[in-house]
Structures are given as structure tokens and as C-alpha cells.
């Protein structure tokens, strides 16, 4: 798994490439929580376009991120989920927990 962080109009974009599983989620946790810690009234958006797999430990990392971000007044949302990943979110009703958009433009309304 690889993560790449870029800025977009004062917001943070995290692009993830590869599998998010119990081996890689500790690294993702470190990246995600450090961004969330620094964020204030910002959007932290995660680009799932090149995510190949996510297991429950990966989802738990995002759940932790979501709980943490609520306290900071910022928003966490996802976009570009491949169908196989979307199916995992739908299957476990996590599509109701996270804000999920089709594209980056949809998420920002641009």
C-alpha cells in the first residue's frame, strides 16, 4: 500500500494505492490520524480509485478516523470507490456511515 497526500484549496486529499489490510492499516492509521489531528474545519478526502482490497481492520482505521474527525469540526469523505470495494461498504451498510461520492468533483460540487 502507498499513500500520497496533496493539498486542494486548504483541504487534504489522500490517494491510496494497493491493499488496505491488517498488514498495511497501521501505516494508514498513522497517516490518517496525523492529518486529522492537524485539520480544523477542513475536508479530508480519500481517493479510493487505486485501492485493490480493504478488510475489516482497514475499515476500522477509517471508523477511528471518522470518530476523531467529528471532534475537530472537519469532514471525512471517500470518492472513486471501485465496484468491488463499494460492494463491501454496501454489504455491511457502511455506505450509511461514511460520506461516499462518485468523483472528487461530486464531493466538492465543482
Amino acid at each position: 500500500m502507498k499513500t500520497e497526500i496533496t493539498d486542494f484549496k486548504g483541504n487534504k486529499r489522500i490517494k491510496i494505492t494497493g491493499d488496505i489490510d491488517m498488514h498495511t492499516s497501521p501505516e494508514l492509521r498513522e497517516v490518517l490520524l496525523s492529518i486529522i489531528k492537524k485539520s480544523k474545519n477542513q475536508c479530508v478526502c480519500v481517493d479510493f480509485t487505486d485501492v485493490t482490497y480493504i478488510d475489516s481492520s482497514g475499515i476500522a482505521t477509517f471508523v477511528e478516523g471518522l470518530k476523531a474527525i467529528r471532534a475537530s469540526g472537519s469532514r471525512l469523505f471517500f470518492y472513486g470507490l471501485p465496484e468491488s470495494i463499494m460492494e463491501i461498504f454496501r454489504f455491511s451498510r457502511l455506505d450509511r456511515v461514511f460520506e461516499i461520492f462518485r468523483t472528487f468533483e461530486d464531493a466538492f460540487g465543482i
Binding site: A60, V63, F91, S92
Partner: protein, 426 residues
């Protein structure tokens, strides 16, 4: 006749060889005397210090993760100096004499450190020790660089560099063997701990995987992926004439998931007592689990069935659907489902289903359909459904499914815990 001086010339190198062999034998016997890595390093370095009449000696171990050298053993007059070295000093590869030796993997003999630009003065400044000369040797094992051994201010100068080099190799192998030994002891300890944890965890699940009440028979199979796991199931009698069947899957794997699973089973048993509504139990459990550490959550199904008439009420929290087998064939039950427990505040819906005589209801965790084959391909929910369809009339269906998964995942490590709970109406 041989002159006295010629005799001396002849005997001197021989004496040196005998002395060198004596040292070699002595150090070799120390090296093979212990498998305790710290004791081994200290004993050998003490001996080296004594043989070479040195003021001090040290071992710096190479830390692969940081790519730095760290003081592991430092034998000098003051204990506080050696503690200071261990706590405060690390060297980059190439930094100082030890860093140079580590990088170039060559023995280095320096008669006067003042004349050598590679010498790192900060250590002396910090400790107040004065290094005049030194011998630094790389310790290289089968797995590569282990570290660097340094002898500081050796008084004896007529040592044999070849013997020193042989001793260093021998010493490096001994350190490596001690590392292997301690790693294997540690592995064995962890294995034992996990075996105890697995037994303890099993004790949280119902003692008997078969539960019978009236016309209802419930049967469960649970196989953790790595000794301990995060899947759980339970059978309870919440109120008279009703049986509650619970299945769940904690996010993550291993010991943390297992500990959390144990807590959840206890919470569930406490909450479920006396409540005839699965959604109410799920709601209460959701609240209890909302403070879960590290975003941990639980996907679960709780079903309460009437022992008399088979009328059932089910609540689902982000868990894979149930599969119903009846006289019309098999079908995946479409149900109103809430998110997994422990994430957000929400109300859980109830779904009603009538189970008749001969019906079977299968509940499973995602480990069943996420099993991987040797090429890393997952078996998938549809393939499991198809298999159940083909074998729906078989008595021991759950065991058959496990057999099918084992066959599919042959020669691979089990990726996730597997749990199947089957409810049968006689």
C-alpha cells in the same frame, strides 16, 4: 651447531603461534559456553580486553530498521559511561571508525586516532574517556552485518591480525546463533501463550456447539484463522419458550480481536437476558460498544425464535445475510439491515420470518466466502451459495461447507476466521 641467536629467531614465531592458538582455544571455549547473547558478548569482550591489555572495549549492533549502529556492550572503568553510550550514542553508517568498518566490512587498526579523520570525537567528549588507539572489527554473520567490535587503547602490539580475524568470524557466528536461539525461545513462548489464549477464548463460546430445544436444533462451527480469532456465536434462552441465536465478527484479527470478542460475548449475555426483542438488544449492545478502541466494530445478527411455532425475529448489523433452505430451494434473505455495532448511534430494525418444519437457516461470517486459493482469488458469496444449493439435502451441510473451503484454500494460510451457525426445525 645452531647459534643461540638463530635459535631465538626460530623459537619466537613458534611461541607466538602457540600463544595465539591458546587464545583461540580459550576464546572458543567461552564462545561455546553460553547462548545468552548479552552474557556471550560481555564474556568475549572482557577476554579480548584482557588479552590485548586494553583500556576499554565495546560492541555496536547494527539496527537494520534505522540503518544505524547502537552501543550494546561497553566495557570500561565506569558503569555510568557505558550506560551513557548505550542510551545516547548512535552512529550512522560511515560515521566514525565503527561506521566506516560497518560500511566497508574490514578490520581497521589505528595506532593514533588523532591522525585519523574518520575518528568521531563526540563520544570521548561526552564520556571524558581518551581514545588513543583502537582496533575495530566488523561482525558479519550468515544474515549479513551484525555490528562492530572495538578494542580501545590496546597496550599489546604483537597480536596476530589473522587470529583476530578468525576469532571475529567465530564470534559473529556465535552471536548469530544466540540471536536464533533467543528468537526461537520467543517464538515458542508466543506459541504457548497463544495456545492458552485459544483455550481461554473457546471457553467464552458455548460449551456444546449443539443446542436443542423443542423442535429447534442449532449447530455451530468456529475455526479461528490464527489460534485466536474475532468470530463469535452464542445460544441463549432470553425468555421462556424462546431461543436467541447470535453470530458476530469483530473487525481485525488475532489477539486484539479475540479479547474484544470475549468482552462482547459477556456484554451480550448480560444485555440479552429477559429481552424478547433483537433490535432492543442490538441497540443496547451498540451503545456499549460505541467506545471501542481503534475504531473496532462488530458485524452481527441476532435472531429470536419461538420454540413452539418457529416464528422468528431477526436484527442485522452490517453482517452478511442469512441463507434459508426450505422445500422451495435456497434463498438469500433480504432484510432491513443497520450498520455494524459500535460505530454510530442508530436504531436497528426487526425482520420477521416463519420457519417451518424441515427448514434450515444458515448464518455465516465473511471468512467463509472470503477464503482464498493459492492464486489469491477469493471464493466469493455466490460460489458458496451455489455449493449450498447443490448440497442442500445433506445432513451435515455445515461440515460439508467447511470441507469445501478447505479444499479451495488447500496449501494456503487461512485468511480469516470462519463461523457457520445452522438452525434446523425438526
Amino acid at each position: 651447531m645452531v647459534k643461540k641467536s638463530e635459535n631465538k629467531e626460530y623459537i619466537r614465531p613458534l611461541e607466538r603461534k602457540v600463544e595465539a592458538l591458546r587464545i583461540l582455544t580459550e576464546v572458543s571455549s567461552i564462545i561455546s559456553s553460553t547462548l545468552d547473547i548479552r552474557e556471550l558478548m560481555s564474556l568475549v569482550m572482557e577476554k579480548a580486553k584482557e588479552i590485548l591489555s586494553a583500556d576499554a572495549c565495546s560492541i555496536l549492533i547494527y539496527n537494520k530498521k534505522t540503518n544505524k549502529l547502537e552501543f550494546e556492550v561497553a566495557i570500561c572503568g565506569e558503569e555510568s559511561t557505558s550506560e551513557m553510550l548505550k542510551e545516547k550514542i548512535t552512529l550512522d553508517m560511515g560515521q566514525g571508525i565503527a561506521g566506516w568498518v560497518a560500511q566497508n566490512q574490514q578490520i581497521l587498526v589505528i595506532k593514533d586516532v588523532k591522525k585519523d579523520k574518520r575518528f568521531f570525537h563526540d563520544v570521548d567528549k561526552m564520556t571524558g574517556f581518551e581514545t588513543k588507539s583502537l582496533i575495530a572489527a566488523p561482525l558479519i554473520g550468515r544474515r549479513g552485518l551484525i555490528g562492530v567490535a572495538e578494542i580501545i587503547n590496546p597496550q599489546k602490539e604483537d597480536y596476530d591480525l589473522e587470529i583476530l580475524s578468525i576469532l571475529t568470524k567465530h564470534f559473529a557466528t556465535a552471536i548469530e546463533n544466540a540471536i536464533y536461539h533467543s528468537e526461537s525461545l520467543e517464538r515458542e513462548r508466543i506459541k504457548q501463550e497463544l495456545e492458552i489464549a485459544a483455550t481461554l477464548q473457546k471457553s467464552f463460546l458455548p460449551e456444546n456447539p449443539i443446542f436443542e430445544k423443542g423442535k429447534i436444533k442449532v449447530f455451530a462451527i468456529n475455526i479461528p484463522a490464527r489460534h485466536v480469532g474475532g468470530d463469535l456465536y452464542d445460544f441463549v434462552e432470553p425468555v421462556r419458550g424462546k431461543v436467541g441465536v447470535f453470530i458476530g465478527d469483530v473487525s481485525g484479527k488475532g489477539v486484539s480481536a479475540a479479547l474484544y470478542m470475549a468482552k462482547i460475548i459477556s456484554d451480550f449475555r448480560y444485555i440479552a437476558r429477559g429481552i424478547n426483542s433483537p433490535s432492543e438488544v442490538m441497540g443496547k449492545l451498540n451503545k456499549v460498544l460505541s467506545g471501542a478502541p481503534r475504531g473496532m466494530f462488530l458485524t452481527a445478527i441476532y435472531l429470536i425464535i419461538d420454540v413452539g411455532n418457529g416464528e422468528s425475529v431477526i436484527s442485522v448489523a452490517g453482517h452478511p445475510p442469512c441463507i434459508l433452505i426450505n422445500k422451495d430451494g435456497i434463498k438469500v434473505l433480504e432484510m432491513q439491515t443497520g450498520p455494524p455495532l459500535g460505530i454510530i448511534e442508530t436504531d436497528f430494525k426487526e425482520n420477521k420470518i416463519s420457519l417451518r418444519s424441515g427448514d434450515r437457516l444458515i448464518m455465516l461470517t465473511d471468512g467463509v466466502f472470503e477464503a482464498k486459493n493459492i492464486s489469491g482469488e477469493r471464493i466469493g458469496f455466490n460460489a458458496i451459495l451455489e455449493f449450498i444449493g447443490e448440497n442442500q439435502n445433506i445432513e451435515n451441510l455445515s461440515e460439508k461447507i467447511i470441507g469445501h473451503i478447505n479444499e479451495y484454500s488447500k496449501n494456503t494460510e487461512m485468511a480469516d476466521d470462519i463461523t457457520i451457525v445452522e438452525i434446523k426445525i425438526r
